[in-house]
Amino acid sequence: MRLSGRNLRCVRGGREVFSALDFSVSSGEALTVLGPNGSGKTSLLRLIAGLLVPADGAIALNGGEAELSVSEQAHYLGHRDALKPALSVLENLSFWRDFLGGEMQDARQCLAAVALDHATDLPAAYLSAGQRRRLSIARLLAVRRPVWLLDEPTSALDAAGQELFVGLMRQHLGRGGIIIAATHLPLGIEAGELRMRGPA
């Protein structure tokens, strides 16, 4: 499996964020996207996720399921955690597992993997920022998708949470997954680097 972008150009609000950008990641590899604020890290991730349309260029996933688009084979972990405060931890996770579709895992085991298994019936409103992030990470495990697009994944996590997350990322890569992460902090796994220059 190989995820690649060729000659990508992104324009947002009439302003060119980046242009002529190429990247390529293979199965079992991780890529960190580095660069100053405003250099288009988030835009690149959203472009790959299909949430933005490139002004130029194309993104392709070779060796994936042919009838599915890239975005349907990718997980996106953004700044906003897509949790409903009125629902319990388990309800939140089960909903995304059922809705996203694909190869499903047991929701309780996924919560155990992020150390939230004692809080299954707690309303998500009571969770701290770090716990909310853990719950979002559990979503990546609940449905298996080969591409993980992570936007500052470790920002709200404590040391233990980061360690736990590194383990989960290693597992994902070990199964032939692909990770692209935009981050300021070292991710904790061996990864290629893509430096965004920022607006010219």
Binding site: A49, S71, E72, R80, D81, A86, F95, D98, F99, G101
Partner: protein, 222 residues
């Protein structure tokens, strides 16, 4: 299919839990209807003549009021991104959200109609006619209102703008809804003609609403 069922289940759950707004719509409907006689006067004959119109206007405003957050809530917490990335077509997801909204906020309005009919001095037939036309017509209000709710995400504005956008679109539904209930009460038209047009409007909105809303959401993402 189970993906859509999960979406409908989640939306209904959120609407009925603490903090959800489903039952506030009914309360609004009740209040608007009770206010009318204070403006019109307590003349029972007059009220029973105006009754269907009052109930329809109340239901229209109530269903519009609760539509406001249909997509903006999901947009604000990032859920909408994931809905777009799912393997379910966005059109179907929109339809499921509208259906859930109608079940949680539209259906209670119809259940409340008989009690309000009593206050407006409507007899059994008239109340039944209004309830029936609301049952056929409120889905159309929800599904056309959904277009406005999707536009509100694109424009980062909701509230009054939504009302201004959607109210003109709901004029046909209002016309045939009130016409059908009046026909059942006093004639001279037969009930069937306006009622079948009302049903047709609902069916058209089932097709048009999800497509327009999905298109608007796709372009509105950033």
């Amino acid at each position: 299919m189970s993906a859509l069922a999960a979406l409908i289940r989640r939306d209904i759950r959120i609407a009925l839990r603490v903090g959800g707004g489903a039952l506030i719509g009914v309360l609004f409907f009740l209040t608007v209807t009770v206010l009318m006689p204070f403006a019109v006067g307590p003349d029972l004959a007059l009220l029973s003549r105006l009754g269907p119109a009052i109930l329809w206007l109340g239901a229209l405003l109530a269903s519009l009021l609760t539509l406001d957050r249909l997509f903006t809530a999901d947009h604000d917490d990032g859920s909408l991104d994931l809905v777009v990335m799912s393997r379910t077509p966005l059109e179907l997801a929109c339809a499921a959200k509208a259906l859930a909204h109608w079940l949680a906020a539209g259906l209670p309005l119809i259940i409340a109609t008989p009690a309000l009919g009593l206050l407006l001095n409507l007899d059994g037939t008239a109340t039944l006619a209004v309830a029936l036309t609301l049952l056929a017509g409120t889905p159309a209000l929800t599904f056309t209102g959904m277009i406005g709710a999707a536009l509100a995400v694109t424009l980062h504005r909701g509230g009054l703008l939504l009302a201004v956008l959607v109210l003109p679109l709901s004029i046909p539904v209002l016309i045939f809804g009130v016409a059908a209930s009046q026909a059942a009460i006093s004639g001279p038209l037969s009930f069937g003609t306006p009622f079948s047009i009302l049903c047709a409007l609902s069916l058209v909105s089932f097709v048009l609403g999800p497509f327009a809303a999905a298109a608007s959401l796709r372009h509105g993402l950033d």
